[in-house]
Symmetry: D2
Subunit: 149 residues, 4 copies
Amino acid sequence: LTSLPAHYVSRFSLPIRVYFQDTDAGGVVFHGTYLSFFERARTEWLRSFGVELNSFVEEEGVLFIVRRMELAYRKPAKLDDRLEVSAELAGLGRAQFTLRQEVMRGDELLVKADVNLACVQSGSLRPVPLPESVRSKLDLVTSPKQESM
Amino acid sequence: LTSLPAHYVSRFSLPIRVYFQDTDAGGVVFHGTYLSFFERARTEWLRSFGVELNSFVEEEGVLFIVRRMELAYRKPAKLDDRLEVSAELAGLGRAQFTLRQEVMRGDELLVKADVNLACVQSGSLRPVPLPESVRSKLDLVTSPKQESM
Amino acid sequence: LTSLPAHYVSRFSLPIRVYFQDTDAGGVVFHGTYLSFFERARTEWLRSFGVELNSFVEEEGVLFIVRRMELAYRKPAKLDDRLEVSAELAGLGRAQFTLRQEVMRGDELLVKADVNLACVQSGSLRPVPLPESVRSKLDLVTSPKQESM
Amino acid sequence: LTSLPAHYVSRFSLPIRVYFQDTDAGGVVFHGTYLSFFERARTEWLRSFGVELNSFVEEEGVLFIVRRMELAYRKPAKLDDRLEVSAELAGLGRAQFTLRQEVMRGDELLVKADVNLACVQSGSLRPVPLPESVRSKLDLVTSPKQESM
């Protein structure tokens, strides 16, 4: 029985600090800023599989673009807050996949998002199947956790 | 028969030009930038009713915050594109309302969003009913168009 | 005596409205946001000469990049402010030029910047001389205003 | 001979990764984005002295705002780059101080900035002397390094 690397089966999480640049005159984080927080966490989640986006574009000629997004804002984050922003695979197709992402402050859920990403050719932006190098890793993530025996 | 001001019953639209600041290394507008485009159009839509957000906070002590958002990205906008970003009332409750917003490039729909906004007290951010001054104007918008006789 | 087009000899100015997205928790415009305001005004100033940045990259294969910038922040802009952001040619070399830019609120000077831009090859980002199509127009701007006789 | 805490006398540096959100269609980091990178590094530099900006505003009623900035852009940062952004005290007055900040990629200097910050009352934004709690720490930083004997 081959054990899977822990970071493939568990939820990925990135610590993010809130700065003035992230806030607005309402005294809280601007609602659009969370999309930047989510992008940082998704990118690091991919990097944890060995997918570096820049070399990925150059070597595979493909790009991931956001196709749909659903956001629920529960509570606002504030200046100096230390957040945890997560990414977890929630769906996997031939040419697209879906992530569930959350912004947490300690135990409090602040913002939740479902993000659907398509794999496209850089340049034409036409949909293409996920490269095998990525698929094989995402397949591992979606497999049910294997119990130790 | 009282005729309604045209800008209450028709869709509001704001022209927005795409600059380098709005794009990313994928060569197209960054997906998070559209939330800024939508905010600009919503704010001008409110201003067309006489609601200036800054004085609104100071006089009424209330703020509109985004509570939920659903986004569908159809086609990317590019550098130098001249877009039209719209706002149209799609739902109206006691303490919240929903806008349908679209990014158009000529006849092409690029991005579509449903944006649910809550009315909250500035400071506490607790939900409060929409001020009567705003409600009375939004009620007009949601009325069925009156045919001229 | 040939008269010059008015927009070549006079200062260019772009109206810009302040939205929540431009502000921070200090209640005023975030200091980095002014660089976006300046970029919008510079781009429209270039467009007033017939230089569209996107087609410029594609046709001439060159790009303008910021090389140096000096900023003086005098007074803060606030939510809902209606600003005028200017661009005026202050220096012209073989492969670079300098703009004086200002953010005004009515008669008040809020922020002032000297922005030095270099002309570079897209891709390599190596300095190249300004294309003749741009130089001929900037030469007109730097000529002393001709008095009517 | 009292030895000083190492982080007071040495240069402060924050690792920052480049994401799509930081880049523009030129394929490199947008020139305005570096101001956000610098703000993050300055904030963490202050935090290393025990100054948390949010509680600082609430307890002392004062705010640091950027008054002047000089930027030199040497080389562009790119997607996925891992940068080090530094902050070092370069000048200290009664109500203002100046930082030298740099963006490094390995041994390469990419961007350099001198940032002058003023201490102001939150609300009125009038200049006020630096609070004693901050001054006493900045005084330590500006002291000549003490040699071990």
